[in-house]
């Protein structure tokens, strides 16, 4: 009872004093400003990151990232400012496709070889591509970490706000009802009408019923959600036999996902690379010298020791540089599990749909140890199929995937302006037997 009187008092104050009113209002305004600022921040960052060098980034990752980094020297020199350092800006473009000839004649090329010790692979890339790569490297700025945190914060703030508001309104309603009944009682007493003593709140059938209904809906909602979540393993992050950091490989060292997970472009499975693929690089890379890898529990990971574990599996003797032990395959813990009745094909999404790995797997390049980013629920799949657009064939320009030329009707609809684009759903992407058979 005492608590309810206290709240009553506080609310009484809220109605009477303007100070508190102002305080609440200003608090509210702060929230809005916060949200606005964060949204603006995200927009700015994504804008500055994206459009300029979208192609260059892909090309860089596919062709150069194994040996070059944008900002620092690696196996080869840092890519940023390569043109400035070269004798003339055109030299860099020429170099990429003529490594072998230039190494024999050009003094600057010779000096590079002397400095870095290994010869660069000769490419055969269109000039525009090389320029795009160099443009990308020159415009490169290190990614800003707090973006994700900011996004999360906005969401939290919102729910907190609504929660508080609901609670406040509920308390107000309750108090008003109490006030109403007290006033009526007073009025009745005044008029001399006799009434029974008011039933206390905890025995009031209306309140009890309301409470039960609320509990029922709340409980039902929670139960159904929990039941649907059974078997879903979002954020599943098991401990792996080797502490393999995607952040180090895909993030810092910019290794293309498809270099290791090559199956993703050909097969329904995106394969976990076999040990011989790891050894392609790790024959040379014997120790970890990068920035500290911090485990989820805060402890420090000894990268070099983890590489030694790989050597154990591979049967590699690093000092003799031979495989002198029988190797054994690594038993990784599988993170992404789909039920048996779901057919999912990686190559459909990677090769045909041209989706980034991150769309489903999240910011892999920032994960020290991988966790399941999406809940892999059917609703989540369907949602994307509803929104994603297919690379529809345009008969006039010849752009797009020619396979879709069989959809005569949609083609006409686009021409007549009835449709502006074709989503995956339109071509049957949400039908049962696209994934269940």
């Amino acid at each position: 009872m005492s608590i309810s009187y206290l709240t009553f008092a506080a609310i009484e104050g809220y109605f009477s004093t303007k100070d508190i009113d102002l305080g609440l209002m200003s608090h509210y305004r702060k929230f809005i400003t916060n949200i606005f600022a964060t949204l603006l921040f995200i927009a700015l960052i994504s804008f500055s990151n994206s459009s300029l060098a979208a192609d260059g980034e892909a090309l860089f990752k596919a062709n150069c990232a194994n040996c070059h980094k944008p900002l620092e020297d690696y196996i080869g020199p840092a890519m940023k400012g390569a043109r400035k350092r070269a004798p003339n800006p055109e030299w860099s473009v020429k170099w990429v496709n003529n490594v072998n000839t230039l190494l024999e004649t050009d003094p600057y090329a010779k000096s590079l070889l002397a400095k870095y010790g290994s010869k660069m692979t000769q490419f055969n890339l269109p000039e525009a591509d090389i320029k795009a790569i160099l443009d990308y490297a020159d415009a490169y700025t290190p990614p800003v970490a707090p973006v994700a945190v900011g996004g999360g914060a906005v969401k939290e703030d919102n729910s907190l706000l609504f929660g508080i508001l609901t609670l406040v309104l509920a308390v107000i309603a309750f108090i008003l009802l109490q006030v109403n009944s007290s006033l009526r009682k007073l009025a009745d007493e005044k008029d001399g009408i006799l009434r029974a003593d008011p039933v206390p709140v905890y025995r009031n059938k209306t309140y009890l019923m309301l409470g039960i209904i609320c509990l029922f809906f709340f409980g039902g909602y929670k139960t159904i959600n929990a039941a649907m979540g059974l078997g879903r393993m979002k954020n599943y992050q098991p401990e792996q036999p080797i502490y393999y950091s995607h952040k180090v490989h895909a993030g810092t060292n910019q290794i293309n996902c498809l270099y290791c997970h090559s199956g993703a472009q050909d097969s329904k499975y995106s394969n976990v690379p076999s040990v011989n693929v790891c050894m392609n690089c790790h024959k040379a890379i014997k120790e970890y010298k990068g920035e500290d890898i911090i485990k989820e529990d805060g402890s420090l990971v000894n990268g070099t020791a983890e590489i030694q574990k790989l050597y154990q599996y591979a049967g590699w003797n690093a000092s003799k540089k031979t495989y002198d032990q029988p190797g054994q395959p690594i038993q990784w813990v599988r993170i992404h599990n789909l039920p048996d009745h779901v057919y999912f094909n990686h190559s459909q999404h990677v090769k045909v749909g041209k989706q980034n790995c991150q769309t489903c797997h999240g910011p892999i390049q920032e994960m020290p140890e991988v966790y399941q980013f999406s809940d892999l629920s059917m609703g989540w799949c369907i949602n994307c199929h509803r929104e994603s657009k297919v690379n529809f064939y345009n008969k006039e320009t010849g752009e797009g995937n020619k396979f879709y030329s069989i959809y005569e009707k949609f083609h006409n609809d686009i021409q007549n302006g009835k449709l502006d684009s074709i989503t995956v759903e339109k071509i049957g992407g949400t039908e049962c037997q696209k994934c269940h058979y």
Binding site: A227, L230, G231, M233, P238, S262, G263, D266, S267, K268, Y269, N271, V272, P273, S274, V275, N276, V277, Y313, A314, G327, Q328, P329, I330, Q331, W332, V333, R334, N337, P339, D340, H341, Y343, N345, S347, Q348, K351, V352, N401, K402, F403, Y404, S405, I406, Y407, E408, K409, F410, I427, G428, E431, C432, Q433, K434, H436, Y437
Partner: protein
């Protein structure tokens, strides 16, 4: 409809019991709580307590299942990934199916290192991409749990493992030296491999005098081989060119089902039966036979005789086509007339006719050779330039060997890919002889009847694990490539021979490579490309005759007359699924319903209704009550059959179209170990207790085995249950199939489909024009991109059932076992309906492959309460297992009866482990568990969900293949790649009857097939279900009245039908 199509006698007579049964479609036992209608809960069979028990258990089980921790799953990549392997992508390798002389070039689909499906190799000029039921099922044999896993030695009591091949070789060398001087005999089924024959020749050259290779065929063609030697001087079989024949006369040769090379013959046969245009031409096929064979059921005209009259028929034919012989008198006037008309046809088509004969009687084959000579077949339809190697066994050689074995003359017997202890007519004599041979070594893959009696066993790898070659016809080589590492410690029999003969070549792989490299003049590219395509560069097809000599004819005629018949005779035949019985532990083959009898898992005595009336007193045609008593229960009366002094007891199956005095029995069943209790373990759970062994009834006449004999039959009081599928899921006499004769088709092409066309017109509302859109109140949905469709040509479907097995393999269709088939719970997504029509005693047969019709206005879709079955924008009727709650409303509402319900957990797919075990023997056969072994499960197609108990399933149009083809087309940005897609049944079909593809594309094969407007129909079109499977009406090239078109118009006709029905009632 003026003509009746019927599947069983009840349907023919419209008996009460049949009608009752047709109404009660799901024939299941009473389920718990189902008898509660008007009784109180306490009085019911399953009272309240049971209800509470079930409720409590299911709640507890659900809670338990839901609260279990999710298992930690591992993903284990390769240590060193093979270069050509991408997990999840299938590789295809050309290879060759070889089994007892059968050779079919195939492409093996290999997924993640294991073969999971066989497809026909379209490069082969012999089989041209066709396959058979047996070859389709062969991939399952690779994962047979009874396969021997290491070399063994029998120490007198039991088999003990021999730890290494070296130890084994040493032991054999010692034993062989102890019997030095006595001949070593290799006993094998027909070997078509030239390199193996070379190994054998080299091996035998180093053995004592008298050492030899004896080839023994379980079902023999020795008579033909010897007849050809007598007539043409070649102990060989010619090549047949049925595609050059306008008239094909077969004397009991089941050339579309089991005779010699059925896939090849089906290709040739159907070539001239694919018809188009308004004046089509077709070959004319006449079958003389005693039983109703698959080939006979496809014949345009079919005549019956007793097996002992075969010679008389052949002689009469010979006399009529100009042979200088006096025709014997034929008692049956009808038969004599038919021989006359057949001879007229043959005479009119000299040079474009052929006579095939399925007899193993050398004298009869000499007469047939003379007929073929007279009608000019030699060099035209029978080619002696290229001989066939499918069967090479000479019976007398085998009999002589068995004699020698018994006399102790044989030093060592090496048994390869053959099982005489089971298939030999006098099996006791063979096994006795086997015990007298000092060294007996078996190369067989399983511990079958012969292997278990041998002293040593060194199993050879399965052909899918082997290198090898096969020469089905002289000059035509088909290569075998391994598609999986040997699963067990097996060794090629050729390698053993090389080792034991002290060859310098270490193993058969090396020998094979050296042998073929030399043949290709060490041209590595040519060698590799031959392996890749599976075939060597095939020689130009040459047609040539061989010189015919009729010196043996006179003697043959005199001897052939001496064959005595009896009142009743047996005719021993092979089933298209089980064949000689060496694949009888293959549950897929056991569960395929025989095309004619529709029985699974058993053999039986197949007799005519007249026989049943005479012997059993069962009048199924005339007496309703008796017909029903026989038909509605799976329990059939049994009879004892005595022939060649052996007696067996078999259930009786009454099938019209069999000669009234003939009992037809199939070989290949009744496998049994010496110790009966060991059969399931040694030979296999599927082979165990399936049918009765009929080989003992085979006779030997001094030159060859005889597959028919006079017999006495006696009625018994016993009954035996048969799992027959045809009576399940009746279409209740609705018009389903349409056929006509070639003559009436040419005269009036529109007539055959007049009835359904008229009914369609009636359905259109006033003013409506478009049947598809206007004759329904449901909205019409577009199929904007692809619309999948299938067309099936009933004219070329022979009913061979290769498609059924292919479908089973492709779609992980469960094996349910005999107990469940008897309860009408079979799971096949595809069945071949067999309809009888016309003359009750010699009916016409129509086969109709039936699977989900993928109706655009599907009756199943709108009754599903949970939308688990619905329609896709590509015209597929989608079945979503994970949504299905098992109400079976859809199956009930399906007019085609193609939906299948998982009554039990056949696949072990439920969460509860070993939940089937308590059912074994009661509700489930052990053979079902055979499919659940970890080894057997390797055959499962990883792209198709394994269904669990309680859900409906059905044909998906091989949606996994459609999705794959679309993905390939999208990657290649080429829409023509989805024009024609080979679904599993279409791929397997040796007759090319099934075409599949995108109907929206006018260039697709299926669109073109549907252009034949006079023959193209949809089943039950008048229901407006709009199926996506179309059929082409059957045309019979016969003068008989075979049409089902309306003879009279309008009301009169309908009344007549009603009268007819009343008369039957």
């Amino acid at each position: 409809m003026s003509k009746k199509y019927w599947q069983n006698f009840g349907e023919l007579n419209q008996t009460d019991v049949y009608l009752d049964k047709a109404n009660n479609e799901f024939q299941e036992e009473l389920l718990p709580l189902e008898d509660l209608n008007d009784k109180g809960l306490g009085d019911a069979k399953t009272p309240r307590r049971d209800f509470l028990k079930y409720l409590g258990f299911s709640t507890a089980a659900a809670t338990l299942a839901a609260s279990c921790d999710l298992p930690v799953r591992k993903v284990v990549p390769y240590l060193n990934k093979p270069d050509n392997l991408i997990a999840g992508v299938s590789n295809y390798y050309a290879s060759t199916y070889v089994n007892e002389g059968d050779v079919i070039s195939v492409i093996v689909k290999q997924r993640d290192g294991r073969p999971i499906k066989l497809e026909g190799n379209e490069n082969s000029s012999i089989t041209k991409g066709g396959t058979s039921a047996q070859s389709q099922a062969s991939v399952l044999d690779l994962y047979d749990t009874t396969r021997l896993r290491y070399p063994q030695q029998n120490d007198g009591k039991e088999f003990k493992e021999v730890t290494s091949f070296e130890a084994f070789d040493k032991m054999i060398a010692e034993k062989m030296s102890s019997v030095a001087g006595k001949p070593v005999v290799i006993l094998s089924s027909t070997i078509t491999s030239p390199s193996s024959l070379q190994v054998i020749t080299e091996f035998l050259a180093k053995q004592p005098a008298g050492s030899r290779l004896v080839q023994y065929d379980a079902v023999s063609y020795s008579g033909m081989l010897l007849a050809n030697e007598a007539c043409y001087g070649k102990k060989a079989l010619p090549s047949y060119h049925l595609d050059n024949a306008k008239v094909i006369v077969s004397l009991s040769a089941d050339f579309l089902g089991t005779w010699l090379s059925p896939v090849e013959f089906t290709k040739q046969y159907t070539k001239n039966r694919k018809i188009s245009g308004v004046t089509p031409e077709m070959n004319h096929h006449i079958q003389f036979e005693s039983t109703l064979s698959l080939t006979g059921s496809n014949a345009d005209d079919r005549y019956m005789h007793k097996p002992s009259e075969k010679a008389a028929v052949a002689l009469a034919l010979l006399a009529k086509v100009g042979g200088a012989v006096t025709a014997p008198a034929i008692k049956d006037a009808e038969l004599a007339k038919n021989i006359e008309s057949t001879a007229t046809l043959l005479n009119a088509n000299k040079g474009a006719a052929v006579v095939l004969c399925g007899s193993n009687d050398v004298n009869l084959q000499i007469i047939v050779n003379a007929i073929n000579e007279a009608i000019g077949a030699n060099g035209k339809t029978i080619n002696w330039a290229v001989t066939s190697n499918y069967r090479q066994g000479v019976d007398a050689d085998m009999v002589k060997l068995v004699e020698e074995m018994n006399s102790g003359a044989i030093g060592a017997l090496l048994v390869h890919a053959t099982n005489p202890a089971y298939t030999y007519y006098d099996s006791k004599k063979f096994t006795d002889g086997l015990k007298k041979v000092p060294v007996t070594i078996s190369f067989n893959a399983t511990l079958n009847e012969t292997t278990e009696l041998c002293k040593y066993s060194i199993p050879a790898p399965h052909w899918l694990e082997s290198w090898g070659d096969a020469e089905p016809k002289s000059g035509y080589i088909s290569f075998i490539q391994p598609t999986i590492n040997p699963l067990f410690k097996t060794r090629y029999f050729q390698t053993s021979l090389l080792k034991w003969s002290g060859s310098t070549i270490a193993d058969y792989e090396t020998f094979f490579k050296t042998y073929w490299s030399a043949k290709f003049n060490n041209d590595v590219d040519a060698y590799n490309s031959a392996l890749q395509s599976g075939l060597n560069k095939e020689p130009e097809l040459a047609l040539a005759a061989a010189t015919f000599s009729n010196t043996a004819l006179a003697e043959a005629i005199s001897k052939v007359g001496a064959v005595k018949g009896g009142e009743y005779e047996i005719a021993i035949y092979q089933k298209v699924s089980i064949g000689t019985g060496n694949q009888s532990n293959n549950p897929w083959l056991q569960e395929v319903p025989d095309p004619i009898s529709k029985v699974t898992w058993d053999n039986y005595a197949m007799v005519s209704p007249a026989f049943a009336k005479a012997v059993l007193g069962l009048d199924v045609l005339g007496n309703q009550r008796q017909g029903d008593r026989y038909e509605v229960t799976p329990e059939k009366p049994t009879i004892k059959i005595k022939a060649n002094n052996k007696e067996i007891e078999l259930p009786v199956l009454i099938i019209p179209g069999i000669h009234p005095n003939v009992v037809a029995i199939a070989v290949g069943y009744g496998r049994q170990s010496a110790d009966k209790a060991k059969t399931a373990e040694y030979i296999g759970r599927s082979a165990n207790e399936a049918g009765v062994n009929v080989y003992p009834l085979v006779g030997f006449d001094g030159t060859g085995f005889r597959y028919s004999a006079a017999a006495t039959v006696t009625k018994t009081e016993n009954v035996y249950a048969l799992g027959q599928t045809q009576v399940h899921g009746s279409s209740e006499s609705r018009p389903i199939v349409f056929e006509t004769s070639l003559k009436s088709f040419i005269a009036n092409p529109k007539a055959v489909l007049r009835e359904p066309r008229e009914e369609r017109e009636l359905l259109l509302p006033y003013g409506g024009k478009d049947y598809v859109k206007d004759a329904t109140i449901y909205p019409h949905y577009d199929k904007p991109g692809i619309k999948w469709g299938m067309s099936i040509d009933l004219n070329t479907c022979t009913g061979c059932s290769a498609c059924v097995v292919a479908c089973t393999a492709e779609n992980n269709v469960a094996v349910v076992g005999k107990i469940q088939v008897v309860r009408a719970h079979e799971m096949h997504w595809m069945r071949i309906d067999r309809y009888f029509t016309g003359d009750m005693n010699n009916p016409d047969v129509v086969f109709q492959p039936m699977m989900c019709q993928h109706c655009d206005n599907a009756p199943c879709e709108n009754v599903c309460p949970v939308a688990a079955t619905n329609h896709s924008s590509e015209g597929l009727n989608q079945m979503t297992y994970n949504r299905c709650i098992g109400t079976r409303y859809c199956a009930n509402n399906c007019p085609f009866k193609v939906r299948r319900f998982n009554w039990l957990d056949y696949n072990g797919a439920d969460s509860f482990k070993d939940n089937q075990l308590p059912l074994i023997g009661v509700d489930m056969n052990e053979s079902v568990m055979q499919m659940n072994d970890d080894l057997t499960r390797m055959v499962l197609n990883p792209d198709v969900t394994v269904r669990s108990r309680g859900v409906i399933e059905k044909c998906s149009f091989c949606v996994q293949r459609l999705q794959e083809s679309k993905l390939i087309a999208k990657k290649a940005e080429d829409p023509t790649l989805v024009r024609n897609v080979k679904v599993a049944c279409a791929q397997a079909c040796p007759g090319g009857s099934i075409t599949f593809g995108n109907v929206n594309d006018p260039e697709s094969e299926v669109s073109k097939a549907r252009l034949d407007d006079n023959r193209n129909f949809y089943v039950l079109e008048q229901l407006h279900v709009l199926p996506n499977v179309s059929y082409l009406a059957k045309i019979k090239n016969s003068d008989r009245h075979v049409t089902n078109e309306k003879e009279e118009e309008g009301g009169e006709h309908k009344e007549e039908v009603k009268k007819e029905e009343k008369a039957h009632a």
